[in-house]
């Protein structure tokens, strides 16, 4: 079985529920007291889809203005972008359009986009209609899901569909930037240059073997 490693960036205005969605998906829980992200948080998640092992490296970014200029660092090499807005706030939906045009301008490699209207448990206060969001998603070639991190609705599906798209991308587009990693390799981003680390001889063997055994995933 092939393992695909894919970078996913989560974008959207502050407080739309980016962290909550990611933690719901990766950690299987919801915390009312989730605190605002500082900089960016990194999560990994592994799932098996269509005979592929997909390893998602998820960057949950902070929506705060002062981190805005850091965003390129995360989306530049991303294979997928989760564009999250809060369906009870039209403003956060309009902010997505800015993100999309920024992505269009700055990202060359093909990228799977998924528009997510979060907080659907509060749909009584909805400010963004399904139709409007769906049409917009189609217009930019994005997937679309409505979710609730609180009630655990739609999140699993959204990530699964993203993973499927990633596989499709991998199979059809040679310059997708996606790559398979060999199965013994469990260390995140090993490609990024652990060559620069000089391990003392006696130390180098042991941790590596431990890594190997752990990676029976």
């Amino acid at each position: 079985m092939n393992t695909i490693e894919a970078k996913v960036v989560v974008l959207g205005t502050q407080a739309v529920g980016k962290t909550s969605v990611v933690i719901r998906y990766v950690g299987g829980m919801f915390s009312k007291a989730v605190s605002p992200t500082i900089g960016a948080s990194f999560f990994t998640y592994k799932l098996t889809v269509n005979n592929y092992r997909v390893k998602l490296q998820v960057w949950d970014t902070a929506g705060q203005e002062r981190f805005r200029s850091m965003a390129p660092m995360y989306y530049r090499k991303a294979n997928a972008a989760m564009l999250i807005y809060d369906m009870t706030s039209a403003d956060t939906f309009y902010d997505i359009k800015e993100w999309v045009s920024e992505l269009k301008r700055n990202v060359d490699n093909p990228i799977v986009m998924c528009l997510i209207g979060n907080k659907c448990d509060l749909s009584d206060n909805r400010e963004v209609s399904v139709k409007e969001a769906q049409e917009y998603a189609e217009s930019i070639g994005a997937l679309f899901h409505e979710t609730s991190a609180l009630k655990n609705i739609g999140i699993e599906e959204a990530f699964l569909e993203v993973a499927q798209q990633l596989i499709k991308l991998y199979e059809t587009s040679p310059n997708s930037g996606l790559h398979t990693i060999d199965m013994g390799e469990n260390r995140s981003g090993a490609k990024e240059g652990n060559s620069s680390i000089k391990l003392p001889e006696e130390e180098s063997s042991k941790p590596a073997t431990q890594q190997d055994t752990k990676c029976a995933c």
Partner: protein, 528 residues
């Protein structure tokens, strides 16, 4: 607080300074803004430098409110500017008469009813901190919403620019009854503290410099300056949004944590071998190009610090890092990658920090600070290896054990009548102190103890009359402060101790500290 009821004696065993002691004056000469030169925490003097070349000894401005209406709380204000020298026979003719109320109303006619300052809770606060732009735009207030403090911010801005414009001078502090107003004008920001607490003017100024540095830590000096250069009227809250909690957290730490007062860091007590092993783990597994600092923090205490050979971590920067970790729950959820500016290291740019907790209970935090924005995965790798090694050699357990003990009991020092102490090693900018025990267990008592130390610290460091030894008999306890080349010691005894026995105890204590030194301090600096 051991206040003006001076019942103290001053030992002269170290110096001839005893007869020089005089009652505190609330206005200090300009050099009293300076902490002793060897102190690690340096207030940013650059902005003060120009005053030093001006002749001193003239009261440039004394503004006295002639408001009669005390219920409006327009206080009698005495303005002191940087060139002031306190003189008892101020010349009445040199005073400018101005009503603070007039000033206020002249400045803002709008939305008085929205004014937070009318709320009793707000007025009752012991200490206020305000940040505003030079144009007078509210940026931050410790208490209340800064939106609703437009009026007072306007007044503060007017005071600053009034003194500046009429004298080319900077306002430093105002004493108005119980309230001290301390100003710290750092282009392009104005920071003001209004306090009715025990803190001295100098201590308040130091706190403002911390606040200023916290702002720099979020934005960098470069950004701050260029933003206001482009638009004088910029609303900085946009950029600071989400960072208020760092300011809040910093200010509450400042009020409870002695590190800030002392300008020193506290190390988690650990056996030398254990600490060495922890440092070695970092050296072995984080030897990565462009990694400048690697450190482990546990409960606001330093476990170890490894640095690039050429660079040092200034205590102020370390305090900002500690505050960042202290205030950010989000680091507990996942590995984080965030920019941070360390103003003493380089105020013009960001370091990139890889931040992660090493243990399940999220007590032991590893920070890897680099200049390479692309090195997250490399550092993430390092972190895994460091963690593995620490687990293997029980490093994390040792840290956990030390944490459960909080610190150590004063009983361990074996000195009767000594209730509590702070000992700062000056060359390393580290300090140690035992757990706070009875009779200082209640919050109120702890605050009082803090006030005692502030008082003692202030008395000793008043640069008008720096002391080496101060022996102070208060109503509830006896205080002893002692400064030498190598250390600063502040000790609190029961009220009945005699001077000889206090001195004896201190000597015993110093011996004890010497014996425990390896465990309480990080004595050798570790580099990559």
């Amino acid at each position: 607080m051991a206040d003006s009821k001076e019942a103290e004696q001053v030992s002269t065993s170290e110096s001839e300074q005893s007869d020089l002691i005089e009652p505190e004056t609330c206005i200090h000469r300009e050099n009293s803004m300076l902490l002793p030169a060897e102190n690690f925490i340096s207030i940013d003097y650059e902005s003060f430098e120009n005053y030093d070349c001006q002749p001193s000894g003239v009261i440039h401005e004394i503004v006295r409110s002639n408001s009669q209406d005390k219920s409006e709380e327009t206080p009698d204000v005495v303005l002191s500017s940087s060139n002031d020298e306190f003189s008892a026979g101020e010349d009445k003719e040199e005073r400018k008469q101005i009503s603070a109320k007039e000033l206020a109303s002249a400045l803002t006619e709008e939305d008085i009813e929205e004014d937070e300052t009318r709320k009793p809770e707000w007025r009752a606060q012991k200490k206020h901190i305000f940040i505003l732009s030079e144009a007078g735009k509210p940026i931050y207030s410790r208490h209340g919403s800064e939106d609703k403090l437009v009026t007072i911010m306007g007044v503060l801005q007017a005071l600053v620019s009034f003194v500046h414009d009429s004298n080319k001078d900077n306002i430093r502090c105002i004493i108005a009854g119980d309230h001290k107003f301390v100003f710290y004008v750092r282009d392009p920001l104005i920071l003001v503290c209004v306090s009715q607490g025990a803190d001295s003017t100098q201590q308040l100024l130091l706190q403002l410099t911390y606040v200023y540095n916290q702002v720099l830590s979020v934005l960098t000096h470069k950004t701050l300056v260029s933003i206001f250069k482009q638009r004088r009227n910029y609303d900085l809250r946009r950029l600071l949004s989400g960072s208020e909690k760092f300011l809040d957290s910093l200010l509450s730490l400042i009020e409870t944590d002695y590190s800030f007062l002392l300008g020193a860091v506290r190390c988690l007590p650990l056996d030398l071998q254990v600490r060495d092993m922890i440092s070695q783990s970092i050296i072995q597994h984080a030897r990565v190009k462009d990694l400048v600092f690697a450190l482990i923090l546990a409960n606001n205490q330093l476990v170890t610090l490894v640095r690039m050979k050429k660079y040092y971590l200034h205590p102020v920067d370390l305090h900002l890092i500690i505050n960042l970790v202290h205030a950010s729950e989000s680091f507990k959820a996942a590995e984080s990658w965030t920019p941070i500016c360390l103003p003493k290291f380089d105020s013009s740019g960001y370091l990139q920090a890889h931040i992660s907790y090493l243990d399940e209970s999220c007590q032991t935090c590893l920070l890897l600070l680099t200049v390479d924005r692309e090195s997250f995965f490399t550092l993430s790798d390092c972190k895994n290896k460091i963690k593995e090694r620490l687990l293997k050699y029980n490093g994390l357990n040792a840290i956990g054990d030390s944490l459960t003990k909080t610190s150590y009991s004063i009983n361990q020092c074996g000195i009767t009548d000594l209730r509590h102490f702070l000992y700062k090693s000056r060359s390393t900018a580290q300090y140690t102190s035992p757990e706070v025990e009875a009779p200082y267990l209640g919050t109120e008592e702890q605050e009082r103890l803090f006030g005692l130390y502030q008082y003692l610290h202030h008395r000793i460091h008043t640069s008008a009359r720096p002391l080496k030894i101060l022996y102070h008999v208060g109503p509830h306890e006896t205080l002893l402060g002692w400064i030498t080349q190598g250390f600063e010691l502040y000790a609190v005894f029961g009220p009945l101790v005699t001077k000889p026995s206090a001195i004896h105890s201190i000597n015993k204590l110093l011996k004890w500290i010497k014996r425990e030194e390896d465990r309480l301090f990080i004595l050798n600096s570790v580099t990559f």
